[in-house]
Structure formats: C-alpha cells, structure tokens
C-alpha cells in the first residue's frame, strides 16, 4: 500500500469511527417498532385481550426502565392460524422491527415460519408446543415453558398438592383440547406419566375435544362414566366454562378439576361467567412473582391504564407479553440498531435478571428457548386465583378435594 492510499484509508476509518456513536445514538432515538400479533377476537379473544393489556403498558414501563422508545403495531389474528400468517407478513411489510405474540402454539408455528423466511426476530410471549424451538430457527425466541416443562412442573405440583392435602386419588380422567397446544400437552403427559411412579393415580380415560366446541355434553358424560377420582384438564377459556357448566348439569362432582398447565380457569372471564362455580379449580401454570420490583412497576402501570381490572387475572398473559417486548427493547438497546440480524444476535445474548415471571434470569439457549421458568399451583379461592403452592410463594392453603358443589 502506498502512503497516499494508507492516509486515505486511515482518514476513512477515522471518519467512520467518529460517526458510529452517532449512528447508535440515532438508532436509539427512533422507536423500536414492535409488531404485536394476538388473538383479540374469536374463541381466544378474551385471552388475546388480556395479553394486549401487557403490550399496551409496555412502552411506558420500558421507557422508564431502559430509556428505550417502543412503538406498538397491533394486529388481531382472530384466533385463526392462517390469519396469523398473513398478519405477520403485513406487519413486516409495514416496517415492524420485531414480532411479538401470539399466545397460541398453532399461530406461533405459522408466524415462526414467516419470521424465519423474512429474517425477522420473533419473540414468543406464550406458546408451549416444543417443536417451535426444535426447528433450528435463527430468528425465533421463546420466553415461555415448553409443553414438556409445563407438564413436568405441573405434574410435580400435583404430587405436592396431594401431599399437602393428605389425599390419595387413585384415578384421573384426562380431557384435553385437540389443537396444537393440547396435542403437545397430551403427548407430554403420555410420556411423563409412566416415569412419575410417585404419583398415586392412573389415567383411566383420555378424551380430546375441539377447543371451539359449543357443546361438551357427550365428552362430559363419557368422562363421568369413567368414574375417575378427579379431572385432569388441559383446556382453553371458552371450553373450560362450557365444561364446568356441563359438569353441574350432569351432576358430576369429582374430587376436583386440576390442570397440569393450561389457560382458562384462572382467567377473569371464568370467574365472571361461572361465579361460585369457578371456585376450587386448580391450574399449575407459569406464574408471576408478586414481590419482584418489575411486577410492582407493571402493576402500577396496569392499574393506571385499567382502573377497573385486577392484575391477578391478567398476570400470566399480560406479564409474559410485557416480558417479550422487554426482551426486544433490551436487545435493541444493546444492539443500537433495528437491523434484524443485529437484533436477533442481541436477543440471543439476553440476560435479564430483573423480571416479572417466576424462575431464573431470561437467557436463551442455543435453540432460542428460555429455561428455568417457574410454575405455581394456583387455586380459585374467594373468587381470586390464589397461589397455594409452592409453599414459599403461597398465600393460602390448597383445598382438595373440592367441597361438593352447592347451588350458588
């Protein structure tokens, strides 16, 4: 290299070095556009709206926490997997820098394919089907338990529940929705049960059903005919309400309804629609830590934005949706760029210790999956979802068997 060429190269490098902090500053100044895809209508509509509450409060809380501007681009996928795919495409076309959502495993699989094809980071808030993070995707990240984790933690908590209440049920009838999530959970339970010899019960019948079903009378009569001691249920919201009503109509009162990890029975609509019938249902689910400083920030923002609502009914949905946006914003802050690849690389390096959900820090493994997210046994007591296990997080004692239903 000649002297003049060397001087030019040196000058160019110097200019570049001088400008690059400005680039970062410019990147930080412009907001991160987060495409939030949720099922705000359709049979998952209630839960989608609950998740949306977490998204709506995220820009304000994140601005306070990280100083990062977040702009939401909201999309409703209408509880329809095909619509989820097209909404994801449209958000990318309209300039989203990162996708967040969608609560549903089927929709998450569809969006993940779009995100991977288009090289767009996608942070899953809630979706448990294990295969989503088993495809070798480079742009897909999940801050939620897989179905296997949910089942393992859920069944383990069922064992603790029986110990804590000195009960030994011998049989369970397993009812589950037959969508992507329900099938993944059924597979997980089928694989886990033979290994969990410490659990005192056997599954005597397994009944799958359509999550959009309007009538579950046949399914409930079949479950009742099994004479099982308790109902092991993997449900969604609407079907859990229909199912609970049908149990009363058919005068079926097992020892209790226990979910090894599914939505539905801790949702506000379950309480509102069923009243006293919602009592004593148990859900072993990933939950939030009410004592964390982030929860307190979120709770304050939630109360401000939803003065009539109680975070306890939305903690899981809103909490994990908020955390998904937090992950994206944290990565943006570190990457200093909205370039999709830089963002994806930064998300992969995430290490968030101050968070809302139970469990260890948010760190992604090589598959894009966060490990070590904790679960809690949440029982509906006094018309509120109440943590009853593990003991160190419990605010009440579990009640099992549930008292026989009496007319409300």
């Amino acid at each position: 290299m000649q002297r003049r060429q060397f001087n030019k190269a040196l000058a160019a490098a110097g200019a570049l070095a001088a400008i690059s902090p400005l680039n970062i500053a410019r990147a930080q100044g412009k907001p991160l556009k987060v495409g939030v895809i949720l099922p705000r209508s359709g049979y998952l509509g209630f839960i989608g709206q609950s998740c949306q509450k977490g998204a709506d409060l995220a820009p304000g809380v994140i601005k306070d926490m990280l100083g990062v501007n977040v702009e939401l681009m909201n999309a409703d996928f209408e509880s329809n997997v095909d619509t989820a795919r097209t909404r994801a495409e449209r958000l990318i076309q309209e300039g989203a820098n990162v996708l967040v959502g969608p609560f549903d495993s089927g929709a998450a699989s569809a969006i993940a394919q779009v995100a991977e094809q288009r090289g767009m980071p996608f942070v899953i808030n809630i979706a448990a089907a294990p295969q989503i993070t088993e495809q070798g995707y480079k742009f897909v990240f999940r801050n939620f338990q897989t179905a296997q984790d949910i089942v393992r933690n859920g069944l383990s908590l069922i064992g603790e529940l029986f110990q804590a209440t000195n009960t030994i049920p011998r049989s369970a009838v397993f009812m589950h929705v037959n969508d992507t999530f329900g099938q993944a959970m059924a597979k997980g339970i089928g694989a886990a049960m033979p290994r969990l010899t410490q659990l005192p019960f056997k599954i005597v019948d397994q009944i799958g059903y359509d999550p959009a079903a309007k009538d579950l009378s046949v399914e409930v009569s079949k479950a009742k005919a099994s004479n099982a001691d308790f109902l092991l249920l993997v449900c969604r919201l609407n079907d859990s309400i229909i199912l609970r009503r049908e149990m009363v109509k058919q005068k079926w009162s097992p020892m209790g309804i226990v979910s090894p990890g599914s939505p539905g029975m801790y949702e506000e609509q379950y309480f509102k629609t069923l009243g006293k019938l919602s009592e004593y249902s148990i859900s072993n689910v990933p939950w939030y830590n009410p004592k964390s400083s982030v929860t307190k920030r979120v709770e304050a923002a939630f109360k401000k934005m939803n003065p009539k609502d109680n975070l306890v009914f939305h903690g899981l949905n809103a909490g994990f949706t908020f955390e998904a946006i937090l992950i994206a914003a944290d990565a943006y802050k570190r990457a200093g760029s909205t370039d999709p690849k830089a963002l994806a690389d930064a998300i992969r390096q995430t290490n968030i210790k101050e968070k809302m959900s139970l469990g260890g820090p948010i760190k992604f493994n090589e598959k894009g999956q966060v490990e070590g997210i904790g679960s809690a046994c949440v029982q509906n007591l006094n018309m509120l979802p109440t943590v009853v296990l593990p003991k160190d997080a419990a605010t009440a004692k579990p009640i099992f068997p549930a008292p026989t239903y009496k007319k409300a």
């Binding site: 705000r40 209508s41 359709g42 049979y43 509509g45 209630f46 709206q49 209408e78 037959n178 009944i207 799958g208 059903y209 359509d210 959009a212 309007k214 009538d215 009378s217 046949v218 399914e219 009569s221 079949k222 609407n238 309400i241 229909i242 009503r245 009363v248 109509k249 058919q250 005068k251 609509q269 629609t273 009243g275 019938l277």
Partner: protein, 267 residues
C-alpha cells in the same frame, strides 16, 4: 334454525348464507333484553320474533327481491355480503367479548332413571316443536299460507292468478327470520354469543336441511334429529373429536344415495 333456512329456500328459492349471522343477532337481542329488563330468553322470543319478522320482510322486499331473477351466483354474493356486514356490525356494537344470560334453570337437569335430561335443552326442543307446528299449521290451513305454497309450486302461475308474489316472498322471508329469532333466543341459554359464531351455525343448518331435504319442513326437523343423534352417538362410542366427521359423512351418504334429501322432492 334449519327450519327457517328450509322455508326460505322452499318458497323464495334463495339460499340464505346469512342465516347463522341472523341467529347471532337474535342471541344478542336476547342478551340485551335480559340485561335491560331481566326478560327470560324464552319470553324474549315474542318481541325478538316480531322484530325479526319486520327485519326479514324489509330485507327481502328492499334488498333480495331485485335479485330473485338474477343468476344464482349474484344471490350468493349478495347474501355472503350481508353476512359479512352483519358480523362486522356486531363486532362494532358488541365488541369481540362473549355475552351470555344467566338464568336459574340453565344448570338444572331432570333425572329419569339412568338418564339426565338437560332442562334448558328440553325447553329449547319444546320451543322448536311449537314453532314448527305453528308454521306447519300456517302453511297448511291459512289462506296466506296456501298462497305462499302456490308461489313455491309455480311462480308464473301464481303471478297469472294475481297473487302479489313479491309481498308473499317478503312474508316468507319474515317467517324464516322468525324461526331464526326463536332459535337464537333458545340458543343463548345454551351457548355464549360472540360475533363470529354465525358461520358455523350456517354450515350446520345447511348440513341439516340437505340431509332432510331442501325446502321440506319435516325434512329440516328430521335432519336436525339425525345429525344431533349421529354426532352424540359417534362422540360416545367412537371418539368425541370425530363427532363432526360423522355428520359430514352422513351428508355425503345422503348426497350420493338420495340427492334430494331424505324427505325432499325430486325436481
């Protein structure tokens, strides 16, 4: 509900693709009356049916009548468009949240030996039988009913003898809407209502009337019973997830072996 679809097709020869959506509106009407006046959905059938008669009459007279002589695909597009407008209007007015009514008898059932009979379903079945009987008697014994049947049998002949066909078509659509209103008020006791509920019920009504025979009132009732029983038995003895498979299997069988439906007339 299927009865309304069958009556409208049997006379007006228009397939109402907005049938399920109309039933959803009736369900919302029942929830509104319950919330505002604590009116039991089975009592709400009277005002809702009256309102639906007027709505059906006006819809046929003002919107559908001009399409009667147009190609079938135009009628199809018109009614699909009406269905989409209805769903979106409901979304705008009521939002995506589920609405329901909570009445005392909703969770009650009668125990007859080993059988448990759901009280709300029994009442809904009773309402369906009363509505079907009333409709049957109207078409069989009243002069207007006979005139409507004449229009259904021979459109040109009815015009030649001086019948006001457009008015009679509108009356028929109004009566079909009454059936939908009664079905909606009964359904709201069994199912929570959301705006996207309609298409699934439109499809179910189609399956029922095709099995029973398009245009046959008795066929609609028979089709309903057959589809309900086949789904229940398939769910109980084979696999609950496969319930719909059996009703659609029955539909294919009927289409293959008796295309006009079980009680339908060959054209």
């Amino acid at each position: 509900m299927a009865l309304g679809l069958s009556v409208i097709f049997g006379v007006v020869r228009v397939v109402n693709f907005a049938h399920g959506e109309m039933m959803t509106i009736a369900m919302y009407a029942a929830t509104v009356l319950f919330a505002a006046l604590h009116l039991d959905p089975f009592l709400a059938m009277v005002p809702v049916a009256a309102a639906f008669f007027v709505f059906g009459y006006l819809l046929q007279a003002a919107v559908i009548n001009p399409f009667i002589t147009r190609p079938e695909h135009s009628q199809f597009m018109l009614l699909v468009a009406i269905a989409i407008i209805l769903v979106n209007s409901m979304l705008m007015i009521f939002g995506p949240d589920a609405h329901n009514v909570q009445v005392d008898y909703q969770l009650e059932s009668y125990e007859i030996g080993p059988l448990l009979v759901d009280k709300a379903r029994l009442m809904a079945a009773g309402a369906a039988v009363v509505a079907a009987s009333g409709l049957f008697a109207f078409f069989r014994y009243s002069l207007t009913g006979k005139a409507i049947r004449a229009c259904a049998d021979n459109y040109l002949g009815a015009k030649v003898v001086g019948l006001n066909v457009k008015h009679l078509y509108a009356l028929t659509f109004g009566l079909g809407a009454v059936c939908v209103a009664i079905a909606g008020c009964a359904m709201v006791v069994l199912v929570d209502v959301t705006p996207p509920l309609g298409p699934a019920y439109t499809l179910l009504a189609f399956v029922i009337v095709i099995v029973g025979g398009l245009g046959s009132m008795g066929g609609a009732l028979l089709g309903g019973v057959l589809i309900g029983v086949s789904e229940a038995l398939a769910g109980l003895f084979i696999e609950p997830s496969a319930k719909s498979m059996f009703s659609f299997g029955l539909l294919i069988l009927v289409l293959l072996l008796r295309p006009q439906g079980l009680l339908g007339r060959r054209t």
